[in-house]
């Protein structure tokens, strides 16, 4: 028997009902991540990145229908009783979100919010102890004057500082897996790098399995070990980060690499993939990417390619190997 990965998602499908019919926003996604490993998940807005990971943790909208498998330390999360799932969330599996402005409760002090995470999972800890730990955590994420800041409300913090608070809260119970859903997208460019450094530093120190969701492949270059590229709710390419940048095999991945903002390239010449991803329920037949694909052939609009793995490099394109 092969070793269990920390977190393994397989053929995960999430559908939303519209006019009595279900449409899949996530269409059989799969990836895995281990202790101490950073998996990047990249894809355009609306490709199903958030919906996918949220559904894996049972955090999907009430209207969603979830199928497939998400195993954490060998335990199946899909269909797990709610109270068991709750014990894992915030304790073994933590999450941080895109918008630090709205992901903290505006009427609770940041200290109370961090302490809540601790108290929820450690009934033996006193409020005082939880607050002390909250201060230590703020210090851990390099927030100055943590003993004063702990009693402040979120609106007294800048965006970057709030994201640090979110990170502090996420690692409060020393989790095994951290899922960061576009942790820097809403922040200023200068702050983005700082937050990434905090995350990377903690990931190494705590030996976290980290899933880093982003739509900027550039962010992953320096931080991820492996990358899964998602298009329209499917993984279209998966590879080690160096391999992916050296030998991108899917036309979509090549488009993403070409559109990475680069200081050396003039703004006007910045590449972007033509067109937009198909909206929910308006999926084209064959390869979902074919209307936008520069390499598309006749077969692409007829038959959907499946993910094929060559060594450690998977790609879902009819011309994946040759291209």
């Amino acid at each position: 028997m092969t070793r269990q990965p920390l977190f393994a998602v397989q053929d995960l499908r999430v559908a939303f009902a519209r006019d009595g019919e279900y449409f899949e926003a996530v269409r059989g996604i799969g990836f895995h991540v281990d202790h101490g490993e950073v998996l990047g998940i990249v894809g355009e807005s609306g490709s199903g990145k958030s919906v996918g990971v949220l559904a894996a943790l049972g955090l999907q909208a009430k209207t969603a229908r979830v199928r497939g498998s998400a195993r954490f330390q060998g335990r199946e999360l899909i269909g797990m009783p709610r109270h068991e799932l709750r014990q894992l969330r915030g304790s073994r599996i933590a999450m941080i979100f895109q918008d630090p402005l709205s992901s903290l409760n505006p009427v609770m002090t940041v200290g109370a919010q961090i302490a809540e995470t601790i108290l929820l999972h450690n009934p033996a800890v006193s409020k005082k102890q939880a607050m002390d730990r909250a201060i230590a955590l703020l210090e851990l994420v390099a927030i100055p004057q943590p003993d004063r800041r702990v009693a402040q409300f979120p609106h007294e913090f800048s965006g970057g500082m709030r994201q640090r608070v979110m990170i502090a809260m996420a690692v409060a119970n020393d989790p095994d897996l951290l899922i960061a859903d576009e942790p820097t997208t809403a922040l200023d460019v200068t702050v983005q790098a700082q937050i990434m450094d905090v995350l990377a530093d903690l990931q190494k120190r705590l030996n976290l399995g980290l899933i880093l969701i982003t739509h900027d492949l550039g962010v992953l270059a320096g931080h991820a070990d492996r990358v899964a590229v998602v298009y329209s709710g499917e993984v279209v390419e998966e590879a080690g980060v160096d391999d992916l940048f050296k030998r991108p095999s899917h036309p979509y991945t090549r488009g993403l690499i070409a559109s990475i903002p680069n200081m050396l390239v003039e703004k006007e010449r910045l590449f972007s993939i033509d067109g937009a991803p198909p909206p929910l329920g308006k999926l084209p037949g064959g390869c979902a990417f074919h209307p936008r694909c520069p390499q598309a052939q006749a077969i692409c609009s007829e038959t959907a390619p499946v993910l094929e793995t060559f060594g450690d490099h998977g790609v879902a394109c009819h011309f994946g190997r040759s291209a």
Partner: protein, 337 residues
Amino acid sequence: MARYILRRLIAMPFLVLGIVTLAFLLTTVTKGDPLTAIVSDRQMNDPEAVAAAKARWGLDRSLPERYLIYVGNLLSGDLGTSFITRRPVAQDVLFRLPATLELVIAAMLVGTTIGITLGVLAAYFHNTGIDHLARFFALFGSSIPVFWLGLALLYVFSVKWGILPGPGRIDPRADLPAMVTGFMTIDTLLAGKIRLFFDALWHLILPAFVLGWAVAGTISRLVRANMLEVLDREFILTARAKGAGEFRVVVRHALRNTLVPTLTVIGYSFAYLLTGAILTETVFSWPGMGSYAVDAARGLDMPAIIGVTIVGGVVFLLTNLITDIAYVIANPRVRLG
């Protein structure tokens, strides 16, 4: 914050004076002749009796004169003498205001509890049977006339089933406790009369429910709308991702964030309750300000009418003040801003 409260307190006397003036002027534009309330029909033809009555009640003086005298008396706590009860209006009010406040506060508790619970449930289970049921309940409460509902419930619960007492504040044969606060529930407790306390509480249930139902509707609609909005915010997802249970997510995180608008609507629904109390008191023979006001209006009892208006206005001002202060305290952004 202290400065804000101070400013509001300083404004109070001026607002009260405004109410006094308005209340006084309002009585001068009413159609009825107050003389008919004082002088019997037979005496109306007797000019001497009419003149004497006019002098006795100050009706022979000019309006500005009467106004100044009234305000002067008011400063010493004198609201004039009622044409009907022939007692000082201030004394009548002192006796009746606590009865109304007891009813209104009980109605507020009932309305707030039902309203918030329904609003939260309706939002959490929006577009389900629970939501529709809550909407129906709210609509029913705020659209059905208070007196009709009062009579219907009295008939069913008191006359037909006999599980709740009839009109009034307390068993009429009861040996009443000394009036301390004027709140029957509190005074009976202070006097150590537990049986009477429960009797008073029992009498309070139906009128408080009838009056509270109407505001429960308004509150539940507002809480529902706010909860729907808050439940969609990202920090709710954060709370769930922390491992918080649904009850905690809904109450500690979502409901707490709707506290400010909820407090505001509760505060302002006080005004509605005060006016609603008039009908409720009439239906339930509740010896409060509402039934006093009705009697005063029927009898063109000018001093009583002005007195009731002023007291009602001041109570209204005070609840608004408390609401606004609570708003500042409950909202950390305002507090620090």
